[in-house]
């Protein structure tokens, strides 16, 4: 016996509010997939970062559909706003690909790898995807009765009471990361 968990399980018509929401969800999925493909396949790294930003914007929409506006907001703020800009900064500082001389072709990322690398990577990734998808679809998930709402109020209370220790540890980790990044970036300077 196999049940696919849908809550609620009713399918809306296209021209209702729920139907339009379903169409928007399909658009966010398309953003995630296309952005992910650009992020792993673009020759220029700057385009890959743009694809990453597109993918993470779509993921923020997915998180919104998972009834969590706070995580969607944080996804936009941290990933799209901070991490993508940070990677672009790293490319500007460290990657010589844009400054190549005009007569020779600018060095790109996926070029001149071994012939076997592409099919090998594709087959490994395809096998992983197939096994994960089968695992997710075939497993008999058990639904527990809900306790509580899961809104922003409850998330804030949980973050500062039940997981308060982890919250403080995360802030220590972030401080160490900042100091470590400063030390590392300064140490390499001759």
């Amino acid at each position: 016996m196999q049940t696919i968990i849908c809550q609620p399980a009713t399918t809306p018509a296209l021209f209702t509010a729920e139907g339009v929401v379903g169409v928007i969800f399909l658009v966010t999925i398309a953003m995630v997939v296309i952005g992910g493909l650009i992020a792993v396949h673009a020759q220029r790294l700057v385009r890959a970062v743009a694809g990453l930003a597109l993918c993470f914007t779509g993921l923020a929409g997915v998180y919104y559909f998972l009834l969590s506006p706070i995580v969607a907001m944080m996804q936009l703020l941290i990933y799209v706003g901070a991490v993508s800009v940070l990677i672009v900064l790293g490319i500007m500082l460290a990657s010589p690909e844009e400054a190549a001389p005009v007569d020779e072709k600018p060095t790109t990322d996926i070029k001149h790898r071994s012939v076997l690398a592409g099919p090998l990577a594709a087959s490994i990734a395809g096998l992983l995807f197939a096994s994960l998808a089968i695992l997710g679809l075939k497993t008999q998930w058990q639904v527990f009765p809900r306790e509580g709402e899961g809104d922003i109020h409850a998330v804030g209370i949980t973050l500062l009471t039940t997981h308060g220790m982890v919250f403080e540890l995360i802030s220590i980790v972030l401080v160490m990361a900042i100091i470590g990044a400063l030390v590392l970036a300064q140490r390499g300077r001759n």
């Binding site: 999925i29 792993v40 990453l52 998180y63 009834l67 941290i78 899961g150 590392l184 390499g188």
Partner: protein, 108 residues
């Protein structure tokens, strides 16, 4: 499970997460530069967070834990990106390259 009700179904989110994870693994294998591999690693972390959020919405008894864990994953990913970029800058100063083929001193 119809197409327009997909946003209320758990398998849709699990398939998105599996797809992102396999994209990340593919990119980690196929990329030549450290920055490209960092982008792929970010995809893998996002896949993990998506899975946590999906189980949090559909299965978990207390629907705040998955959100809190996704926030922690984001913080760790941001710290990891900052450290990786600074390592990359330090490596670039010494080697004038971030291609993984040029960083093979230990093999010689």
């Amino acid at each position: 499970m119809q197409l327009l009700n997909l946003y209320n179904c758990l398998p849709a989110y699990m398939l998105i997460s599996a797809l992102l994870f396999s994209f990340g693994v593919y990119g980690l294998i196929i990329r030549r530069t450290v920055i490209g591999m960092l982008i792929s690693a970010e995809l893998i972390l996002a896949a993990a967070a998506t899975n946590f959020m999906a189980f949090n919405r559909f299965l978990a008894p207390d629907p705040t834990i998955g959100q809190v864990f996704a926030l922690f994953i984001m913080a760790i990913a941001a710290a990891e990106a900052a450290i990786a970029i600074s390592i990359m800058i330090a490596v670039y100063r010494n080697y004038k390259s971030i291609d993984t083929d040029d960083l093979v001193d230990l093999q010689r």
